[in-house]
Chain length 188, copies 2
Amino acid sequence: MIVVMAPRDSAATKQRILEAAMSEFAEFGLAGARVDRIATRAGANKQLLYAYFGSKEGLFDSVLEAGLVHLLDVIPFTADDLPAYAGALFDFAVAHPELARLVRWHQLERPGVLNRLPQAVESNKRKLEALVAAQKAGKISDALPADQLLGLLLALIHGGAETQIASDELAVQREALVAGVRRLTERS
Amino acid sequence: MIVVMAPRDSAATKQRILEAAMSEFAEFGLAGARVDRIATRAGANKQLLYAYFGSKEGLFDSVLEAGLVHLLDVIPFTADDLPAYAGALFDFAVAHPELARLVRWHQLERPGVLNRLPQAVESNKRKLEALVAAQKAGKISDALPADQLLGLLLALIHGGAETQIASDELAVQREALVAGVRRLTERS
């Protein structure tokens, strides 16, 4: 058994590995990614990478978790102004196309795993509670049950690849998203 | 130069190759797919496959085109009853999960190519015209420009992976989609 000692700057090394892995997985997906390239780009050795993340799949999941945590940090969910929230998420996706690609690869190559990640479960639970509370307070439409409304909002927000069919212009896509969310959520 | 003679049943052979390629690409994507496996499964030789489709990428595009043509055949777009149209597409996606996977791989591995395929361009043009006509006739809401409305409808319809976050139950997802499309399109 080989014991890998954690160096003093293990947090910084982990962070460098996660960043290198984000680029690699976003470009090539799980099957196409090369652990060698990730280790080289991170300036870490492969043994350390496996010691930290267990496996290529473990690293893939960890990168996604870190991406979701970062996203939730930067744009916390709020039901107070859902059109504005959707617009902010749109801007984030434009600025960070690698996260959207990572999510898509993950859905194809690890189907069903994303929705069972603790961060995703917890985040969706909180979103649902916020929608239920906003409906009870009469702030948003209760024409649809909160779980169905949440599904629709997420589909609109993350369906960016499809909205490109209708227009190449980011400003038009953003405007459509914000208007669509408003129409789904405003009280009639 | 090797001249490959087309056999008498070339249409049937092409069809078998396309079907085998659909399974292979839907499972593994473009980079992960093996042309050898496709040829073996189709009972065709690899030279013939390249003669018909040019390259692995050419075959990937052809499979997607054939899938879109089939979909448009089975469920023609109509603006007469958009909630029912969305419901029918949902049922098709459930029955043919391989097409949705193929589209997602294609978006990741050949970004931007799908929207330039002649079948996709023509189909989107017709969808847009139908929405414009339905808005002019007062059959659906004109609160949003037709191109933005089309983008939102496609995002809702194809954002199935995201609606699974809110519920595992197909019936609930379908109901949410139909209700969402109704809410986006009905005149207020």
